[in-house]
C-alpha cells in the first residue's frame, strides 16, 4: 500500500475522522438501546404482551409527568448517595461493598433519634437525626476498614458479612426494642415524629429535600476530588499504594478516611429514606439499594456528576418497572428482565470505559 494514503488523507477520510466521534457517541449507544428494545419486545411478544404498551408504560412511569418524575428523583436519592460513597472509596482502592449494611445502620439511627426526644425544636431535631445516621453509617464502615488496616482482613468479605449483621440487627430491633405499640403488633418500628420528617418539595408526591442533600454531596465530592490535596491523595493511593507511600502519603489513613466517608454517605441514604418518606423502619426496607449503587458507581466510572446521571437512569428504570407491572400488566419476572436488558445496553455502550477501569483496578492488585 503506498505511503501517500497515510501521509495525505483524502477529503473523504478527513470527513470520516471528523464524523467518527459524534457517530460513535450517538450511533453506538443508539444501536445498543435499539437492540435492547428489540430483544425485550421479542420476549414480550413470546409471552403474549404488547411491547408498545409496555414501553409506553416504562416511559410514562419514569419521566412521563411531574408525578412520575418526582417519584424517579425520589428513588434516585439513595442510589446517588450510596453511589457517591462507593465511587469515592473505590477510587482509593478501598472496596466497600457494605453500603447495604451502612444504610441500614443509618436508617436505624435516624428512626431512633427521630422517633424520640419529643419537644426538641424541629430543625435541630431533624439535623440531629440526620447526623446520627451519618455517624452510624460511617462507624459501621470504619470497623471493616480497621480490620483491614490492623489485621489484614479482606474488606470485600468483611463488608459483605457486615451487611448481614446490619440487616439482622434491624430485624431484631423492629421486632423488639423499637417496635411500635398499638393494635397490629407487627414487626415495624415506631414512627419518626411528624415535624422531624424532611419537608416535601412538591405536594402530592414523596419527593423531599433529601434531593438537595444528595446533590450537595455530589458537588462537594466533585470539588474534593478535583481541587484538594485529599482528592489527589485518594487517587494516588488508589492507583499505586507503593508509590503513594514513597511520596509520603499515609495510605492507611487515606483508606480509613475514605471508608468512613463512604459509610457516612450510605448512612445518609438510610436517613433520607426514613426521614424522607418511609416514616417507620421495617424489616427489608432497602435490601438491594446498596448493591444497585455499586453498579451505579461503576457505570459512572466513579465521576460524581456521572454518578448522578447513572442514579437517575437506574431510578427511572425502577419507577418505570413499577408502571410496566401496574399499567401494562407485565409479570414481575418479565419486568425484571426488561430492566436488566436496558442496563446491559448502557453497559455495552460504555464498555470500553468499564474495561479500562477494570484493567486499572486489576493493575492495582498486583504488587
Amino acid at each position: 500500500m503506498p505511503d501517500s494514503v497515510h501521509d495525505q488523507p483524502t477529503a473523504r477520510a478527513r470527513i470520516w475522522s471528523w464524523m467518527k466521534q459524534p457517530l460513535a457517541s450517538v450511533g453506538l449507544p443508539l444501536l445498543a438501546i435499539v437492540a435492547a428494545i428489540l430483544l425485550g419486545s421479542i420476549m414480550m411478544l413470546l409471552m403474549g404482551h404488547d411491547p408498545l404498551k409496555a414501553y409506553a408504560a416504562l416511559g410514562r412511569g419514569s419521566f412521563g409527568n411531574l408525578g412520575a418524575t418526582s417519584e424517579t428523583l425520589k428513588s434516585a436519592i439513595p442510589l446517588l448517595l450510596c453511589g457517591l460513597g462507593i465511587a469515592f472509596s473505590f477510587q482509593a482502592g478501598a472496596f466497600n461493598i457494605g453500603a447495604v449494611g451502612q444504610m441500614y445502620l443509618g436508617a436505624l439511627a435516624a428512626v431512633i433519634v427521630g422517633g424520640q426526644f419529643a419537644g426538641l425544636p424541629a430543625p435541630l431535631h431533624m439535623t440531629l437525626a440526620t447526623l446520627a445516621a451519618l455517624l452510624a453509617g460511617g462507624l459501621w464502615a470504619l470497623a471493616p476498614a480497621l480490620f483491614k488496616v490492623y489485621a489484614g482482613a479482606n474488606e470485600i468479605i468483611s463488608t459483605i458479612l457486615l451487611n448481614y449483621v446490619g440487616i439482622y440487627l434491624v430485624d431484631y430491633m423492629v421486632a423488639g426494642p423499637i417496635k411500635a405499640g398499638g393494635a397490629n403488633n407487627a414487626p415495624i418500628s415506631w414512627p419518626v415524629l411528624e415535624d422531624v420528617m424532611y419537608p416535601r418539595l412538591i405536594p402530592r408526591t414523596q419527593l423531599h429535600i433529601g434531593l438537595f442533600i444528595a446533590l450537595t454531596a455530589m458537588v462537594a465530592l466533585y470539588l474534593v476530588m478535583r481541587y484538594t490535596t485529599l482528592g489527589q491523595r485518594v487517587r494516588v493511593v488508589g492507583q499505586n499504594p507503593v508509590a503513594a507511600r514513597h511520596a509520603g502519603i499515609r495510605a492507611d489513613r487515606v483508606f480509613l478516611l475514605t471508608f468512613f466517608v463512604s459509610g457516612s454517605l450510605a448512612g445518609l441514604a438510610g436517613a433520607s429514606e426514613i426521614l424522607g418518606y418511609q416514616v417507620r423502619l421495617i424489616s427489608g426496607f432497602a435490601t438491594t439499594t446498596g448493591y444497585d449503587a455499586i453498579a451505579v458507581a461503576l457505570l459512572a466510572g466513579f465521576q460524581p456528576f456521572l454518578v448522578g446521571l447513572a442514579a437517575l437512569f437506574f431510578a427511572g428504570l425502577q419507577t418505570g418497572a413499577v408502571a410496566m407491572e401496574a399499567i401494562a400488566k407485565l409479570p414481575s419476572q418479565l419486568v425484571g428482565m426488561i430492566r436488566v436488558l436496558a442496563i446491559l445496553a448502557v453497559l455495552a455502550a460504555s464498555s470500553p470505559r468499564i474495561l479500562a477501569l477494570v484493567r486499572r483496578l486489576q493493575g492495582e492488585e498486583q504488587p
Partner: protein, 332 residues
C-alpha cells in the same frame, strides 16, 4: 471527545428520549372514574405469588373476586418498600377503586396516598387501620383454638397435649389460650403445654421444638405454623403421634392417618368478603372487618381417617352451638 463526556451525552439522550416517548401516549390514559356497576380491583404484595403460602393466598383472593363478580383485576408482586406508595398511586390513577395491601407493612404507604384518591378504597389485610377510605381486616383469633383444643382433649389417651406455636404474639396466643380452655372443657385431666418456635418459617427450630414436645411424652400435637408445619407433621407421624395442624394449609392430604383435623384461616375468603361488602355498598372506611366462623372464613378442615365418629360429632355440635349463640368460648 472524552469518554466521560460521551457517557454523559449518551445518558442525557436516553433520559430525554424516554421522557418524550413517555409523554406521547399519556392522552390514552384511562379515565379516573368508572361506571358504578363494576369495580376494578388491584392487589400489592411484598413476596412472590407462587410461594404456595401467604402471597399465593393474596393472588387466589383477587382471582376468586374475578370469578365471582367478573371485575377487572391486577396485581404487583415482590413490591419493595420504596415503591409501595407509587404502586398504589399507579393503580388508583388508573381507576382501580379497591386496592388490597397484603400485610401490616403497608400502613404508612396507604396513609401517603389515600387522601389523594377519596373514591378509592384501600384494604389492608391483617391490620387495624384508620382513614375515611381505608379498611383493615383481621381474623377472629381464638375460635380455631377452642375447637381444635376440644378435638385434642377428646383424642388424647395419656392426657398430654403439646402445642408448637409460631410466635409469642397476641394473634397466636389468643388461639393457644382457647386451646387450653377447649381441651379442659371436655377433658379436665388434660395437661396442655405451649412452646414457641419464634418464627413462622424456621424449619430447623420448628423440628427442635416439635422434638422437645415429643420428648415430653405427648400423644397429641397441635402445630400452628407456616413453613415448618409439613416437616413437623412428618416427625410426629414417625413417632405415631396424632396431629392437629392447618392455619395456612389444609393438612389432611399430607398425612390422612396422622391428622385429626385442620384449622383453616381462609385468606382468599377475606378478599371475597371485602369485595362482597363493596358490591353490597356496605364497605365503609375507618373500620376493621373481623372474619371468623360466622362469616365462613375460619373453619375446621377435613377430619382424619382415624378419628372416631363421636369425636367429630361432639366437636361439630359445639361449632353449631357456638354459631347459634348457645356456647360461649370466651372469644369476643
Amino acid at each position: 471527545m472524552k469518554p466521560s463526556k460521551l457517557f454523559a451525552l449518551f445518558m442525557i439522550g436516553v433520559i430525554a428520549a424516554v421522557a418524550l416517548f413517555g409523554c406521547a401516549p399519556a392522552a390514552t390514559q384511562a379515565p379516573a372514574t368508572q361506571a358504578p356497576a363494576t369495580h376494578k380491583v388491584a392487589m400489592i404484595t411484598s413476596g412472590s405469588t407462587n410461594d404456595m403460602g401467604w402471597n399465593y393466598n393474596a393472588l387466589q383472593g383477587i382471582q376468586q373476586i374475578k370469578d365471582k363478580y367478573g371485575w377487572e383485576i391486577a396485581y404487583t408482586e415482590n413490591a419493595k418498600p420504596a415503591d409501595q406508595a407509587n404502586i398504589m398511586r399507579q393503580y388508583a390513577q388508573q381507576g382501580y377503586d379497591l386496592i388490597f395491601a397484603h400485610g401490616f407493612e403497608y400502613g404508612e404507604a396507604i396513609l401517603a396516598v389515600n387522601k389523594d384518591f377519596p373514591n378509592t378504597m384501600f384494604a389492608q389485610i391483617n391490620a387495624t387501620t384508620e382513614g375515611d377510605n381505608v379498611v383493615g381486616t383481621n381474623f377472629r383469633f381464638g375460635e380455631l383454638g377452642y375447637f381444635t383444643g376440644m378435638a385434642a382433649g377428646l383424642m388424647t389417651k395419656n392426657n398430654k397435649i403439646g402445642i408448637v406455636a409460631a410466635v409469642d404474639a397476641p394473634q397466636v396466643t389468643a388461639d393457644t389460650d382457647t386451646m387450653k380452655t377447649g381441651a379442659l372443657s371436655v377433658n379436665p385431666n388434660a395437661d396442655v403445654s405451649v412452646s414457641f418456635v419464634g418464627d413462622w418459617a424456621d424449619l430447623v427450630k420448628g423440628q427442635q421444638v416439635t422434638q422437645a414436645q415429643i420428648d415430653r411424652g405427648v400423644d397429641i400435637l397441635i402445630i400452628m405454623g407456616n413453613d415448618f408445619t409439613p416437616p413437623a407433621i412428618e416427625l410426629a407421624k414417625a413417632k405415631g403421634i396424632k396431629v392437629i395442624a392447618g392455619w395456612t394449609i389444609e393438612a389432611y392430604p399430607l398425612a390422612p392417618e396422622t391428622i385429626i383435623v385442620s384449622a383453616i384461616q381462609d385468606v382468599p375468603g377475606v378478599y371475597v368478603g371485602i369485595a362482597d361488602q363493596l358490591a353490597a355498598g356496605t364497605l365503609k372506611g375507618n373500620t376493621t372487618s373481623v372474619f371468623g366462623f360466622a362469616e365462613g372464613k375460619q373453619y375446621l378442615g377435613k377430619w382424619g381417617d382415624t378419628v372416631p365418629q363421636e369425636v367429630k360429632d361432639k366437636v361439630n355440635q359445639a361449632v353449631q352451638d357456638y354459631l347459634a349463640g348457645k356456647l360461649d368460648i370466651g372469644v369476643k
